[in-house]
Each structure stands twice: as structure tokens, then as C-alpha cells.
Point group: C2
Chain length 550, copies 2
């Protein structure tokens, strides 16, 4: 009955990866209006010869924060789609912490029509805890107007697990709003009774597993594990190797990046990096691809995504082989993606640095004893250790040395003048100061420094730029990056950004920061009071384990 | 934080089947308010010792028609739940064909609170084709008021595939109503371009596969195959054996019964029969159970069903082993199911036989030639063959013989007086007549007979009973079963019903009906114009292959 279809495009003679039966089937793909409408032996005017090529479904990143890339969302989408990620499920947690509903609307509008399918889960924990001073309280009431948006798939990672397991009222309202959708989790090291209570409330994913034991406990409870390879967090090998050895079913596994810097994406690609790693671990390439395609589509109920098959959106990677998965080109909605110059738009989200006069801030740290609680960084991890350490004092004032530096957090949303001052250990900085307006989740200004002059210098620069990164030494700014969008992202060309960031990272390493740390990512997590064991906020040191200020 | 929970019930020391990791894990199960809220080492007042027992999730039948059991829905639910089926996804296609919205409301209300979770998909093809004379046109407009009911999961099996692939307007309206839910298919022998067009419209399941080739084509296109073991249709061995041999992933497979008679359930149990057969075919018991639990729950988005795990409804089978799966007892919502006496209720759905005076019907079949088109039954199948056959004529009037009997269909909803008369071959009836008010999908009255007197006799009895089965011989009714609910079901005790039905089947076989046919089921499908190759309706013989009357 459909003998004469005029296709918009035919991919001819490709070897199609069938994620349903896990076969490779040589067939033509007929596309019309962005949808695959026929397979088989097809003819038409517009043909791309795919002889000898493999056709994979466009890949899906199950969980990420666009803001972590530091480039504007539309630009980000174009950038990753060229690298094979044609769908992302983003949690706009960072920008909503800074700019509230304006931030969310900005993200939705900017990604409405780009070369990637961009879905969102509404950030569940803004502010991250009740101890936070951030830019917005994103309440269940505010969420209501967004839940019928077809691009909102569910509730974003529920970090505040205490509120969940104690059935705190506002948290329950949020969870109930999404009872028929997906509720993403964030449960690092939560186990036993606490984990059971957490699961009992309908939370169904977790992307924070660091060990196989942790993943296995969660899998047994029906959690879907989003296996993460980000810039700072590397969990794939640790989790997937024993899963394969023990022949655990792969149905509840997906891949995600969570937080991946633009220069890291440039070097190592995006979610396809997870797929390649899985193949290197010995997982069959088709099964590996499933973890970044149909598995994720099924979990998030994306009916037209995740497969190269009739009725599915024509998001297709054309690959040259099934070992390295080199991408020849990528189709999104049936069109070959090419790199665009992105026009800039006016934003509601600039001018987000709202602090007191810098001279008003007193950044001296008075201590009565040389042995004091410090934040000890753990190499290659986001977690920290709470430690008692001997530091140098002069007239009861803390003096940084090569082991211990000063870290300060300055509230930047409501001009409260709040400032938290603490000590970090094991970071390595030997001179100058490093400042950033990116610091999860409240995104107050965080600065690590070896002396007060450079700290103040860097802080001034952050204010001047309306947000960004700044590195100072000998009272001079030696490098900087403006992040004018909510103090998190920029509309600059991504190559310029990437190049500058790499340069800044090198400078920081030359100033002594240990090579195992990306200085800015490490800084950005130092203020997040939901990752163990100890953090610093604008109101002081916070003991995550006991969930209280020290 | 949850040290002192008072459980309603604890299942102690059972070996729990974990459908997530495919492990057996010995643990206690703590239940409160019908939900599993804890596992581990638990204590409480109300304990059932499950030492040495296996705990399986309550089983799910992915697709069935309650009406096919012929007992009232609440009673049916109680009956099957004792046999391990704690959830069904029913298509109330039969009763809606007869009693419209009254029928649907009756089904919803009666199953609101019973020992089984009863979900419905709205019947998509009422009437089954535009050539039908049935009791209701269940339009997309009528569906709208039901779609927000939480027990309506989607659109029921879309049998009218021609309307789908030609994008007929009303069919598209129905499909669009359910674009975010599940749309069940019914695509026997549909293949190639037609199947692609069918899938393109979002239809995602099929339970009509008879061959592996058919199933494989559908699996490759992303269909979920609901593997059926019903009273008449037996597809499991044919499909599952090669699927296992070829190591096709099992993720898109579920089990269903479709149509299963009450006496068949009594003898062979319900959906657990499919699971047992799969085990006999060599499939690992846990994987077998998944096809009747978590797989189906995932497909139909039943978040709290399909697993024995925290957060899941406490629907649990306690089994003595993993080979025969003998059921010790069944929990539904945390309570041990016991057999109930079901109170009868008043119904809107009795008095459904609305026909002319019986003397007004002329049931003679005039033919001009001895060679004529007949309906040839195929042994062990629902399909029929269109055949030219030599029959006996006397004054141009057809005379039944041992090979050919008369079959008539009488419209029973709107008193139109419509009567279709034809000939069937290979049924075996040697004397008397068999009549039924159950005949898919319009459920007009269908009668097969060897002589006109007995046909009229049986018809009279059907009218008198307000629907049911009747068998006549020598102008006497020799057995009968009243089906007063829409002419499809009865409120009689199921044991009495089952015994009587078995007796009636024996009588029919003694009257010559071939042993390979259940006489009433065979009759009930003879009028369904969507199963190949030839059918009879109240307006005449219908060629299914060419989709027109002969």
C-alpha cells in the first residue's frame, strides 16, 4: 500500500545495529520528516552511500549538567551532537540555583531547536540543603507550571536524602508531583535501611556509585545505575568490570557524564567515550551501545528514541568500525549535523554577582589552636576527608603553607555579606589564588589562596567579569575566563573557551596544584554539602556525615 | 532512622527471587499497608515462616479477555489470583461490543477491589470492522472520559490494521489519544511494508505470532511479543524454543493467555502455566518468571509491580521449588488470598438478547451449484481456510452431511433481523445443533447444526436464557449454560460452571465434534472478520484476505 514513498533521505547499504535483537542487519534506511519510516531495499533521489559503515542509534546521555561545560546550552548541544550524543537528559540544577525560573526558562528556550534532543528533569534540591544561601528556592509550587512540558521528564537527582527518608513535607510534595514520571536519585554511599527508605519513595536511578558493592546493592533494589564517566568522576571501569564478570543483567544500566568540561569533551568526546570504554572492557559493542541508547530511552519513556528502526527519530551515527567507533557523520532528525555559528541572544541571567564592596570583607581566619579541622582532598575523587591537622598560626591568625591553603566562600546572590573561611589540605597550591563563581550547588564565589592580597585580587576580578574564573599572583590577574551567564556559562566561541581553560589549568598546575586535580572542578565541589565528608559554605565548615555545621 | 517499624506481616527466611539481578537471596520481607517496606533480618509480631520456600513476584498476564472465562470479573480475579496471577491487563473488548460504556463501567467497578490488580486497555476496534452489526460504536470521543482513569493503561489490541496503515481518521484519533501510553497490537501474519506502517503508528505489542519468523521480524522492529498460551491458541513452544536457541534478548518478551476458559484454568492453572512451559524448554526459572513479572510491569509502566523488593506492592507467590513451581500460597497487597463467596450485584448488562420472533427467521440456504465456498476449519488453529467444496443439495437447498454443516449468525443487539447463513467443513458434528451468544467480536448468536429443527430449538433456548450456550438434539435441549451478563459471562459459582462446561464439551464431542476443537471456542471465533481466511457474520460470508463480503 506504500509502494511509492518519496523519502527525504535514504541511507543505502549500511550495516544497521539492531538494539532489539542485538544483530547487525544490512538494510537501507528511509527517512521522511525526521523519522525512519522504512527499512529494506529502498530507492529515491537523495541517497547517502553507507556501504561498509555501521549505523548506530544516536547516543543518549542519561544525566548531565549542561552548565558544567561552561558554554551556552545551544552551543553545547551542537558541540556534543557532532560527537555522537543526540539526546541528553539534563538537570538544570546549577542555573536554577543562581537564576531560578528565569534560568530554567532560558535553558528550555535555548534548547528548543538545536541539533540534539534536550530533555530536562526539574532540579529537586534548590537550595541543596536548608543551610544554603543561594539565588532561588525552587519549590514544589513553582514546579507545577513546568510538569506538563513534554521536555520535562521527571524530578532531577534527589540529593537531600535525609529529607526523603524522614518524609519531609516539601520533599514529599515534589516526589508526589512526579510519581508517574521518573525520579532521579543521588545516593553516594547510602546503604542498608537508609537506602531502602530512599527507594521506598520511588527514586529509581543513581549515578553516584563508586564501588561494585554499592552498585550491586542498588541494582538488587531495582535502581537503575547510570554509570558515570565525567571529568572528575570516573566510575565505569570500577563498576562495569565486576558486573560483566558476575553476569549481572545489563537492563538496569545506562551511561552518563554528569559533569564534563568542554575541553575534556574536545579531547575525549562525550558519552561515546563510555561506550568505547565498555568495549575495551570486553562488552560486546552492540550491548555497549544499548547502555547509551535503548536502555536509557526505555527508562525515561522516550518512545521514539534509542533505535535505528521504523517509527524512531532519525538520530543516527555512521561509524567506520565497532572497535574504536570512529564517527563519520551524525544525523539528527534525518539531517546531517554540521557545525553552526550560534547567534547570541539577550538574557535575563547576566549580572548575577551581587556582593558587598570587597573592602567590607574580612578574610582573616582566627584560630585558638594549631590543631584544627581541615578539608582534606582525596586524589581522583570528589569526596573529601575531615581531618585534624597542625597548621601555622601567627598571632592566632592562620598562615597558609605548602600543605594548607585558605579557602573562602562568599555569598553572591542576595548581598548578605556572608563569608565562610576554612582550610584545605592536599590541593598543592604554592602561590597566588584561584577564584570561581562556579561552586555547587549554590554557586557562591569560592576562592583558594596562599595569601590574602591575591585572594582579594581574584575576588575583584570575578565581580568585574560578572562571574567566571580568575587566577591571581603577586597582586596581578594572570589569567581569567568570563562566565557571564548566571556566572556559570559563556557565549564565547567554544574553541576559544576550551583553549583558554586548558591554558588556565596549566597555569594552576604550574602554581603547584596537583596534577590529579582539575583546579576549577575541584573548587566547584568544595562547597557542596551533600558529598561526604566535609565541605565549606558561605556560613562555615559543614560536616556532611553528621549533617551539621562544625 | 527506622529502627522500630511495626510490620503488618513478615515473611521470614524465604529465598527471594530477585528479578533485577537474577539472584536468589535469602532474606526476610517486611510488609506494611500492602507494600514491601523492608528486607533484611526483621522481627515483628505477625510472622509466616518461609524457610525452604521460594518467593516470586506475583505474576502478570500481559493480555487477556476476562469475558472468555465466562465468569463474572470479580470472581475471575479471585480465581486466577489463587493460581498465581496477581495482575492482569484486560481488554474488555467483548463486553463493550455488546453493552458499550455500561459494560466497561461494570468491568471497572466490579474489579475495583478484588484479589488481583485489574488494569484495562480500552478496546480499539468496537465494532471490529465497519461491516459489523454489534451493540456499540466505541468511538475516540467516548474513550476520552476514560483515559485519565489510573487503571486504564492504554489502547487495546488494534485489530483493524487496514485502518492503521491507511491512516483512517477515527483510528488515528484513537491512536493519538494514547500516544503517551501503551498501544497494543494484533497483527497476525502482517509482514513487510504493512507491518512497518503498523509499527510506524506507535503500536508496540503483538500477541498473535504463530511462527518464530513472524516473531523475529516483529522483535527486530521493536515490538514486544506477548507469548500466548490460551485455550485455543498455543504459541509458546513454537516461539520460545528458537528464541532461546538463537540467544535473542528476552527483554521484549512477556507472557499472556488472551483467551482461556475457566475449566482450562482449573486444570492447567493460568499464566504460571506459561512460566512452567518455559522452564521445561530449558529457560532458567528466574528468567522465565521475569517474562510474567518485571518485563510486563516495565512495558506497561506499572512501577510498583513485578518484583519482590522494597517499594513494591506485596504481591508474592510462595513456591515450594523452582521446577514445578507449586504454589503454597499467594499474597496480594500483603494479605494471603483465600477463596471468597462473591456477592451478586445488580447489573446494567442483562437482557442483551434483542432479536425478532424466532419464527420470523428463515434459515434455509439456497444454492444454485453443488460446488460452493465453505469455511474449512484448521485443526488446533483459530485460522480457517476458504475452500470450494461439493455439498449435497435437494431442490437447490443445502442439506448438511457428516462433512458439511450449516452455520448461521443472527444479529442480537438491535433486532435488525439480519441473518447470515453458511457452511462449515471439518468440524465433525454428526447430529443436533450447538448455539452460542459468544461470538467474537460482535457477539451475535452463532449456531452450527445438522438440521433446521435443532438449530431453531437451540436459538429459542439462547433467547430464553438471555444469552448462553445451548445444545439441542431431536428437538430437545440436551444441555445448556446460561450466560446472563451481556450474554458472555455468568454469576454462577465457577465450579458449577466449570463442571457444566466440561460436561457440555463432552456431549458435543460425543455428537461428533472433533476432539481437537473446543466446540464453543471454535464457534466463538467463526464470526470474527479479522482472522484469516474466511468468516461468517450476520450479513454473510466474509473473505478476510481481501477484506470484503463474498
Amino acid at each position: 500500500m506504500n509502494n511509492k514513498i518519496e523519502f527525504d533521505l535514504i541511507l543505502k547499504n549500511g550495516m544497521v545495529i539492531n538494539v532489539f535483537t542485538e544483530e547487525i542487519i544490512k538494510t537501507d534506511i528511509g527517512i521522511k520528516n525526521g523519522i525512519i519510516i522504512r527499512t529494506g531495499n529502498l530507492d529515491g533521489k537523495n541517497i547517502i552511500n553507507c556501504e561498509g559503515r555501521y549505523l548506530s542509534p544516536g547516543l543518549i546521555d542519561a544525566h548531565l549538567h549542561i552548565e558544567s561545560s561552561m558554554i551556552a546550552p545551544k552551543q553545547f548541544a551542537d558541540f556534543i551532537s557532532l560527537r555522537g550524543t543526540t539526546t541528553i537528559i539534563a538537570d538544570p540544577h546549577e542555573i536554577v540555583n543562581v537564576s531560578g525560573e528565569n534560568g530554567l526558562n532560558y535553558m528550555l528556550e535555548e534548547t528548543e531547536d538545536c541539533s540534539c534532543n534536550v530533555f530536562f528533569n526539574l532540579p529537586s534540591c534548590v537550595p541543596a540543603t536548608k543551610f544554603e544561601n543561594n539565588g532561588c528556592n525552587f519549590s514544589s509550587e513553582k514546579m507545577k507550571k513546568f510538569i506538563h512540558n513534554k521536555r520535562i521528564l521527571g524530578l532531577g537527582e534527589v540529593m537531600d536524602y535525609v529529607s526523603v527518608i524522614t518524609n519531609e513535607e516539601e520533599m514529599m510534595k515534589k516526589i508526589n508531583l512526579f510519581s508517574n514520571k521518573i525520579i532521579d536519585g543521588h545516593a553516594p554511599r547510602i546503604t542498608g535501611d537508609d537506602l531502602q527508605s530512599y527507594r521506598l519513595n520511588g527514586i529509581i536511578t543513581d549515578h553516584e556509585c563508586e564501588t561494585y558493592q554499592e552498585a550491586l546493592e542498588k541494582l538488587r533494589m531495582g535502581f537503575y545505575i547510570l554509570i558515570r564517566e565525567g571529568t572528575a568522576a570516573h566510575n565505569l571501569k570500577e563498576l562495569l568490570k565486576p558486573i560483566l564478570e558476575d553476569k549481572i543483567p545489563l537492563e538496569q544500566l545506562c551511561f552518563c557524564t554528569d559533569d564534563k568540561h568542554i575541553d575534556d569533551i574536545d579531547k575525549n568526546d562525550h558519552i561515546i567515550h563510555n561506550v568505547r570504554m565498555a568495549i575495551q572492557l570486553g562488552l560486546n559493542p552492540i550491548k555497549s551501545i544499548k547502555l547509551a541508547s535503548i536502555n536509557t530511552a526505555r527508562l525515561y519513556n522516550l518512545k521514539k528514541l534509542g533505535a535505528v528502526s521504523v517509527g524512531y527519530q532519525a538520530d543516527i551515527l555512521v561509524l567506520d568500525n565497532l572497535e574504536e567507533l570512529n564517527i563519520q557523520f551524525v544525523l539528527h532528525k534525518g539531517k546531517v549535523i554540521i557545525e553552526n555559528n550560534i547567534p547570541k541572544k539577550n538574557k535575563d541571567i547576566i549580572n548575577s554577582i551581587n556582593i558587598k564592596n570587597i573592602d567590607d570583607y574580612d578574610i582573616k581566619l582566627k584560630l585558638s589552636e594549631t590543631e584544627t579541622t581541615v578539608i582534606k582532598l582525596v586524589e581522583n575523587q570528589l569526596t573529601t576527608k575531615k581531618e585534624l591537622s597542625k597548621v601555622i598560626l601567627k598571632n592566632n591568625i592562620f598562615i597558609p603553607d605548602n600543605i594548607h591553603q585558605k579557602v573562602i566562600v562568599i555569598e553572591r546572590h542576595n548581598k548578605t555579606g556572608n563569608i565562610g573561611i576554612g582550610i584545605i589540605k592536599n590541593f598543592g597550591l604554592e602561590k597566588g589564588a584561584i577564584a570561581s563563581s562556579v561552586s555547587h550547588d549554590s554557586h557562591n564565589i569560592i576562592i583558594v589562596g596562599t595569601n590574602d592580597d591575591d585572594i582579594i585580587m581574584a575576588l575583584k576580578e570575578i565581580k568585574l567579569m560578572g562571574g567566571g574564573y580568575a587566577v591571581s599572583h603577586n597582586k596581578k590577574i594572570i589569567c581569567k575566563q568570563q562566565l557571564e551567564l548566571s556566572g556559570l556559562m559563556t557565549d564565547t566561541d567554544r574553541r576559544t573557551l576550551s583553549k583558554n581553560l586548558n591554558n588556565m589549568i596549566d597555569i594552576c598546575h604550574n602554581m603547584g596544584v596537583k596534577k590529579c586535580f582539575d583546579p576549577f572542578i575541584t573548587l566547584s565541589f568544595l562547597a557542596l554539602p551533600v558529598i561526604p565528608e566535609i565541605r565549606i559554605t558561605d556560613t562555615g565548615l559543614f560536616d556532611v556525615t553528621n549533617f551539621k555545621f562544625i
